[in-house]
Amino acid sequence: MALCLESGYTSLNKKNEELCGDRVESIVSGDYTTLVLADGLGSGVKANILSTLTSKILCTMVSNNIAIEDCVETILQSLPVCKVRGVAYSTFSVIHMNSRGQGYLFEFDNPQAILIRGCKCRDFDREGMEILGKTVYKTALDLQAGDIVVVMSDGVIHAGIGMTLNLGWQRPEVMEFLDNNVKPGMSARAVACLLAGVCNDLYLGKPGDDTTVAAVKVREKLNVSLMIGPPVDKSKDDFYISRFLSGEGKKVVCGGTSSQIVARHLKTSVRASFDFPDKDVPPIGFIDGIDLTTEGVLTMRRLLELSEKYVSTSDLTPKTFTKKDGASLLAQMLFEEATDVHFYVGQSINAAHQGLPIDITMKLKLVESLAANLKKMGKNVAIDYD
């Protein structure tokens, strides 16, 4: 099975601050993904400038395979010196690895990174190195499929100080929490959001410090092919459907007519479910040989709403979808499980839909916006218009 990396993060701003002093920057370059989490000294604008500079410089340099010593030196010489404190300072964690999970982790003054393997936390075996009087910890990474690397700013282990907890929670408690709550199959983004969410709870919704969690996961690729709408040229239905069915991975059909022609091609029939887990989303259907069958435009519209929330780095709604309506099932499959999404968009016009808020222009617009959000999530997206 081919492996790949996925990454995601969630950031909470210190209360009353518009800007976050933590910054996550990532670059995918060829087979390598580089992700930097930097936490600038102080908060607000100043911290934001420091962490932005640090993360941008580090991410660009490390992804170009420049030695960490040179990167650190560049940062020390470029950061503006704080007038109040007389130092130029930003912490950082850098993950630089390829899709097989091999690479490096560098850490400077952020809480120590956590490795989640098989839903259980463990420490990395790291070694300190002196660079210009600073101690930077280096770990050679050699990860397995399913491993998740979690890096965080100190807002995570300070969560709740003086509010719900006297001394905050410490790293062992963070690890215990993750042990108990990380489920198999959770995406990097879901794990980051899970941890940031509980920090926000400990802060009673008013974070005393910028709090950021970023995660990178080594996982197997999963391709999802999604057909929405029947093709314009009816006589070629079978051709388009065999092309749709020929791809690897999971298959999804959205739309009443589409599901009927797919069922006909497979010499079976569509069975519509009778359950309305959500009154606003039409019920799903079943076709033997197809992983998920849903209604078209209305389900898509809800799916787009869910995707807006999913891509937001400050939204704390859990990133795993457990509801059983068509849109939630699709969201779980496309956002959490898939790494590659291929849309087969049929542009045939349903005369009865014109003028209603479910016509063809609406459908095309929805697919376009959804594809853009999927790209933001780091998915490889392809669209064929038939």
Binding site: G255, G256, T257, S259, Q260, V270, A272, S273, F274, F276, K279, P282, P283, G285, E295, G296, V297, L298, N350, A352, H353, L356, P357, I358
Partner: protein
């Protein structure tokens, strides 16, 4: 007999959910639970006259939650053997 309520996009917008709830109620009210099997179906190609309801082969047009009982009594109930 099998009664299918269309839950395609167009019919859904016109209130399939309410029609299904109403049908459930009517089937119970007239005591034909063991005679009618209520199901949902994807688009039946009758979008301009939704909500569409299929009573075996017969199609019932323009159902909504207010006229459901009338349609049920005139077009569906007589077909029940």
């Amino acid at each position: 007999m099998v009664v299918k309520v269309c839950v395609g996009s167009s019919c859904h917008l016109r209130g399939s959910y309410d029609v299904i709830e109403e049908m459930k109620r009517l089937i119970k009210k007239y005591g034909v639970e063991d005679k009618i099997d209520l199901q949902a179906t994807f688009c039946v190609g009758n979008c301009t006259h939704g909500v569409s309801v299929l009573a075996d082969e017969a199609i019932v047009h323009d159902a909504n939650k207010d006229n459901c009982e009338e349609l049920f009594l005139t077009q569906i109930y007589p077909l029940v053997k």
